[in-house]
Amino acid sequence: MSLIRVEDLTKVFPTRVGLLRKGLIRAVDGVSLEIDSGETFGLVGESGSGKTTLGRCILCLLTPTSGRVWFDGVDLTGLDGRDLRRMRLRMQIVFQNPLASLNPRMNVRSIVSEPVRVHWGLDPSEADRRVRKLLGMVGLHEEVLGQYPHELSGGQCQRVAIARALAVEPKFLVLDEPTSSLDVSVQAQIVNLLKQLQRDLGLTYLFITHDLSLISYLADRVAVMYMGKVVEIGGVLDVLERGVHPYTRALRSAVPVPDPTVGRRRIPIRGEIPSAMNPPSGCRFRTRCPWAQDRCAAEEPVLRGVQVTQVACHFAESIAEEVVA
């Protein structure tokens, strides 16, 4: 049963280059996907691929230019301010940089209690009880109650941000690179905490990251994004180990493996991501793709089932055969 359904979602940002030239950036372009209740759905891609924009559009923190987002059967894009606020109680977000996403002038008690004071109208003593319970859930001692974000470590700040997100008992969390600014040993603590909370509270996660090793460890399904498009989607191991889209394969082969006995088999991709102002015609990856042919410039590939994943590539079948051979 899908909790989230995204249908043909597009977000266009107007932009200005220099004094007079104006342009449009299609940050997310025609994305459709479903997230099942209780699963961890991974969204991977490099900077500028549109993963954060998509995450924010799903929460309606950004208004999609077109397309629809259903949450538990309710079309969020059709809601007005008050109804949307009510829906927001059921979905929350944790950002990448915990220090920047916590108000430096508020102590931990105020930060974590603010959602329940505002949304649930709890009085101070009720709110305080709720805060203590939440701190226990995220593994923080009560000594931090009076402390300010700058007095806490990165890992502690991220625990506070998670406690704040969980305060109003949401069902769905968008986790936008929640461990990217943390060291590996602290990342392990936060990842373990998120897994445990998911089990205990029956949460559904949209986990946004550029870290393929992390997503292969914790996600159930994954979508790979490139320049605003989903290029491949499916079960996490199907995509990351057997995926056939040339970009998925290049991305996977570019990730350094922490095992010196594994020989490198890099699939080199040329150059860098083209300007989002004038994306290539047809398939957006064609300018860097070793398999690109004339058809790729003329015709945009759509997602279709090939082997075990959904792939947007004209030549997915022949690539899949070539890889096996």
Binding site: D183, V191, S213, P256, V257, P260, I269
Partner: protein, 324 residues
């Protein structure tokens, strides 16, 4: 094997408003000619300070308490500022994490690379620009001629990092220090830049000190590796040895904290507690408060970085025959 760089027991403090921080405590390692040596560890463990100490670019608040740094047989700590200035940028150079802030935004990139050559090798401007154009070709920058007149902001992050590498290699250095050179870029670009570094290392006969927090990068690019913890060197050895059989409990824990497919369904190992304050570092072994194997002696006695397997050193009392 001849050592290009030898660091012996480097110990240094930082004076801070809150007191004296014991930032490095008897850090030792060697880098051989033509070798890529990786320095890994978590934030604040002293990787960057170690690199800055080699270049003598430490802030004024840093006080070197002891130890030696020898580069090509010469003691760097005994050199005058002028002698160091001549070495830096010519025989030993550095590439930083964020190329956007390392390049001067007000000069064309060609001039910035050429300046290294006019200062260190006494070339005139035209000769230097011609050499810069040639270097741009070597580091894979397209349209090398026209690119010389571009400003840093006109280039992508990957191209900026290539310019930094061209600048670092301009005078054919012996040692290149790369401090998290790919942390600010995406993985596909990271792969390109690491491949480029390895190619250039072979072409120029460089030794590279690669600072990173990414064990994957170490596994793929480094011949040997040093693992640092809270200002101390926990373990040094060939990359293959350290990954196959990590000796120090800290290294072991870090390896098990890495998320990977094979660990699905099981919790990741995390290290209990937090990195200690260097103002009052733990006595004895600095890792002992977080170590699952800690003994009573560990709080009292500081372990030496000793060779416990051929070419594989670790600073841990478990290997010194201490049993409780």
């Amino acid at each position: 094997m001849t050592h290009l760089l030898e660091m012996r027991d480097l110990t240094l403090d930082f004076e801070t408003e809150d007191g004296v921080a014991k930032v490095l405590d008897r850090v030792s390692f060697d880098i051989a000619e033509g070798e890529v040596f990786g320095l890994v560890g978590e934030t604040g463990c002293g990787k960057t300070v170690t690199a800055l100490a080699i270049l003598r670019l430490l802030p004024r608040t840093a006080l070197i308490r002891g130890g030696a740094i020898r580069f090509a047989g010469e003691n760097l700590l005994a050199k005058s500022d002028g002698e160091m200035a001549r070495l830096r940028g010519s025989r030993m150079t550095m590439v930083f994490q964020d190329p956007a802030t390392s390049l001067n935004p007000t000069f064309p990139i060609g001039d910035q690379v050429a300046r290294v050559l006019t200062v260190h090798e006494g070339l005139d401007r035209d000769e230097a620009l011609a050499r810069a154009a040639e270097l741009f070709g070597r580091v894979g920058l397209p349209d090398a001629g026209g690119l010389l007149r571009r400003y840093p902001h006109e280039l992508s992050g990957g191209m900026q990092q290539r310019v930094m590498i061209a600048m670092a290699l301009a005078c054919r250095p012996k040692l290149l220090i790369a401090d998290e050179p790919t942390t600010a870029v995406d993985v596909t670009l990271q792969a390109q830049i690491l491949d480029l570094l390895l190619t250039l290392k072979a072409e120029f006969g460089l030794s590279v000190l690669l600072i990173t927090h990414n064990f994957g990068i170490v596994a793929e690019t480094c011949d040997r590796v040093g693992v640092m913890y809270a200002g101390t060197m926990a373990e040094v050895g060939r990359t293959s040895d350290v990954f196959r059989e990590p000796l120090h409990p800290y290294t072991q824990s870090l390896m098990r904290a890495l998320p990977r497919t094979g660990a699905r369904g099981r919790p990741l190992q995390s290290i209990p507690g937090m990195v200690p304050s260097l103002l009052v570092p733990p006595t004895g072994c600095r890792f002992h408060p977080r170590c699952e194997f800690a003994m009573k002696t560990c709080a009292a006695r500081r372990p030496e970085l000793l060779e416990h397997r051929p070419g594989h050193r670790a600073a841990c009392l478990l290997y010194e025959g201490v049993r409780e």
